[in-house]
Symmetry: C2
Subunit: 106 residues, 2 copies
């Protein structure tokens, strides 16, 4: 029984700036080990590792062991859920323009 199937909420996972930056770094570099991620942040290795674990629990990253390092890779697919959620509200932030148009019609 792995500890990784703890199931994190994607919304929670992307709420942290550090984790968003990790996602970005992985998007840019395809595959990265922890010790290459770490120097991009001011915090220590352990902290970055824990953020990676949270991202794994949200299924936003996968990892494979390669010798003595563990390579992390982005899996963007869970972000689809966020996009789906957002799509419902898109009409609202254009509504101001729509309302303005309605008012102008008077």
């Amino acid at each position: 029984m792995k500890k990784t199937d703890e199931k994190r909420d994607v919304f929670v996972a992307i709420a942290d700036p550090t984790r968003r930056k990790i996602i970005r770094l992985l998007a840019d570099s395809d595959e990265l080990p922890l010790h290459e991620l770490t120097p991009h942040f001011q915090m220590g290795r352990t902290a970055v590792s824990k953020h990676l674990m949270i991202l794994r629990e949200a299924n936003l990253v996968t990892n494979r062991k390669a010798g003595r390092e563990t390579k992390y890779r982005l899996n963007a697919e869970p972000l689809q859920e966020v996009k789906d959620w957002l799509s419902f509200y898109e009409k609202f932030w254009n509504e101001r323009a729509a309302m303005l148009k309605d008012i102008l019609e008077d």
Copy 2:
């Protein structure tokens, strides 16, 4: 000096399921006072009020006083930031399909 210009991160604001539900309720009903929001949740009025405050700090809701009640209204525009962030990653969750196509070309 208001306390409301504390500037909350939109990503943090939408991380909580309660707050996402509030956003949805406001989207459906245009304008709602606290006491009409509250019965949709299992928690007390104070807790809902605090969630509303967080949403206000993220500029996701506006409020106006109307007699003895305060009407809350959705302002979806800050969600644009989330959408912009997401748009960068859209290509990645379609990449599997793209890669599959590439492989099939061999």
